[in-house]
Amino acid sequence: MLKFIKHHLTTIENIEIYPIISLLLFTTIFVIAAIYAARMKKSKVNELSNTPLED
């Protein structure tokens, strides 16, 4: 079983880069979204969250 797993890990060159790329991408997007959300003006937040109630 180990042989089986090891085999696939070694057949693609620089395989370790795939999970790292994906984690980096996710972290970047998450951080940007978090910073944006945190810095939104309170008045804007209130205005937007009331949108569904205004029809």
């Binding site: 085999h7 795939y18 999970p19 996710f26 939104m40």
Partner: protein, 729 residues
Amino acid sequence: MEIEKFSYDNGIVRNFAYATMLWGIVGFLVGIIVAAQLAFPEFFNDYLGFKILTFGRLRPLHTNAVIFAFVGNALFMGVYYSLQRLLKARMFSDFLSKFNFWGWQFIILCAALTLPLGYTTGKEYAELEWWIDILIALVWVAFGVNMIGTMIKRRVSHLYVAIWFYIATFVTVAMLHIFNSFELPVSFLKSYSWYSGVQDALVQWWYGHNAVAFFLTTPFLGLMYYFVPKAANRPVYSYRLSIIHFWALIFLYIWAGPHHLLYTALPDWAQSLGVVFSVMLIAPSWGGMLNGLLTLRGAWDRVRDDATLKFMVVALTAYGMSTFEGPMLSLKNVNMLAHYTDWIVAHVHVGGLGWNGFMTFGMLYYLIPKLFRTEIKYKGMVNFHFWIGTLGIVLYAVPMYVAGWMQGLMWRQFTAEGTLEYPNFLETVTSLHPYYVLRVLGGLLFLIGAIAMVWNLIATIRQGSFLKDEAVEAAPLAKHKSKRGEYWHKVIERRPMQMVIVSLIVVAIGGIIQIIPTIFVKSNIKPVVDENGKNVIQPYTPLELIGRDIYISEGCYNCHSQMIRPLRFETERYGEYSKAGEYIYDHPFQWGSKRTGPDLAREGGQRSNAWHYQHMLIPKKVSAGSLMPAYPWMAEDDIDIKHLEGKISAMRTLGVPYPDGYEKQALNDLKNQAKEIARDILTDLKTSGFTEKDVEEMHMKEVIAITAYLQRLGRDIKAVSKKETASNE
């Protein structure tokens, strides 16, 4: 500023509401029938043993009906209602709205006709044949154009968070559907998947998982962000949280697909990626659930009286449960137990019945009185629906959990001597009988509730008066001047097209990094070779290919896997674990996802042709207590050789190495192999002797082709391992 007068199109919302109710009942009913088939197999075999009613054909009908017909119409209903109001604009084009509605119903009708007739691509949740796939793409794009067009002519400056979820739904489903549906048509009703084996499995589960994510989850989260605040009459708990919720959710979801393929022949790096992202998914999922539930803070007293809120609270709770369970199930040690069992069935039904079902019921109870300007006719009946529906979910889920755990544990149980405690697979199935009966009861309660709702809503509709075009007034959108240093997100919130593109990039990244290497890096799929380094996997013979098409058409993959995991209790039961290189000629792959019957990857050569012949016609004759449907017509029906040449050349186009011009020889080879099998069966069964005429009569029947296919499974690899053992000795 001058106020503009316009109207909301309620007609389209009403139409989708009607369709939701109709297809909901149909989908639930078919679900109960397939559940009953597993609970009372004898009854169905003896009294309802028709070709078009076998489990393998009806189960895809059930899944397609509830996912695409019931939930699909519900999501269109909710989106068409909320989008117009959130944007203060009528839908962009009434024609596109109608095209969306009638096109979608036509597709459903095509599905309802083709699936029971056995026309299927053999890929779960994407069973519809190639031209229906094209229709789906067209209708879906019409929906997207209509939605984006409405955003462009809107009268509010920013897009509320619900709309982002709708955008993500549109772009991602379009991408998934198109990429997963690449197939080569052989005839009007038959095509082969463009991908094969491991690649097909990865693309399929990338699609399958994200169909759950972007068809059953994101649109409903968007609807939740509209209808929960609306029904509670208070803004969402945290708008800031909803922004993080959105981006984290769509980014993480798209990577999680490989958790459907743990311990399979899929490359390990892809499996690990799938696990990590699945576990991370719990954070945004629960963020969204809490955001919805906390919106009700201080308004919990209203939940008691408000039908919509009541259903939505249970829906959010079910969502919370299944999104907690999902990440747990994707852990390899948990998945080892759960995969192929009824645990997964329980899991999806908590999501399906609880989250999608109850969200939809909540929306219907909200929308129908609004559209028909009246009150719900029978308030008590809503309560009845609520309680019987909730009870139905519990009565469905609990027995399925127990059945899943039981069967999973029985499969892996070893005796002190180190042999399997339950070597007979059937024993692990027959012991589930009481739970299968309870499941039918749970489903029945859920259906009764839904019927009560439809009854109630029809009565409500009859007492009300419909407002087709709801007149409204709003100021037009002022031209926005960009300020320097303005946040990028604010900019894209204003510009729907940019939002579409950013969402597409975010979800496409997942697909590109995960799927492209598996498709294009050749070393990912190691061929199965003999001692001389020669690939031992041979293309299917013409008869086996036809047999395989019957296997696909009958939906055998709904109950049988062809993927042995590298685990001791699996190899002990079935033989050597499956290798990626074994499936290179499998267009489409047939790994399956549920074992109601045993795995078949090493079936070839295990039993005689005569055994298979008898088993196909009357399973219980050779396998007492079997749940499998009987296929007596396979001994009557001739195999379809009309497209044999086309099939061979299609396979060659897809990369299967049939020699040039083999089409011409194929029929001859097919007949020879078929006669050989027929002769072998007759030798075993007709001890009093038989003539060549008997062989002639039998050899072109469907049962011969499917026997040939079943006898081929795992044969190539067995030949190599036999040689290896011989040389080691």
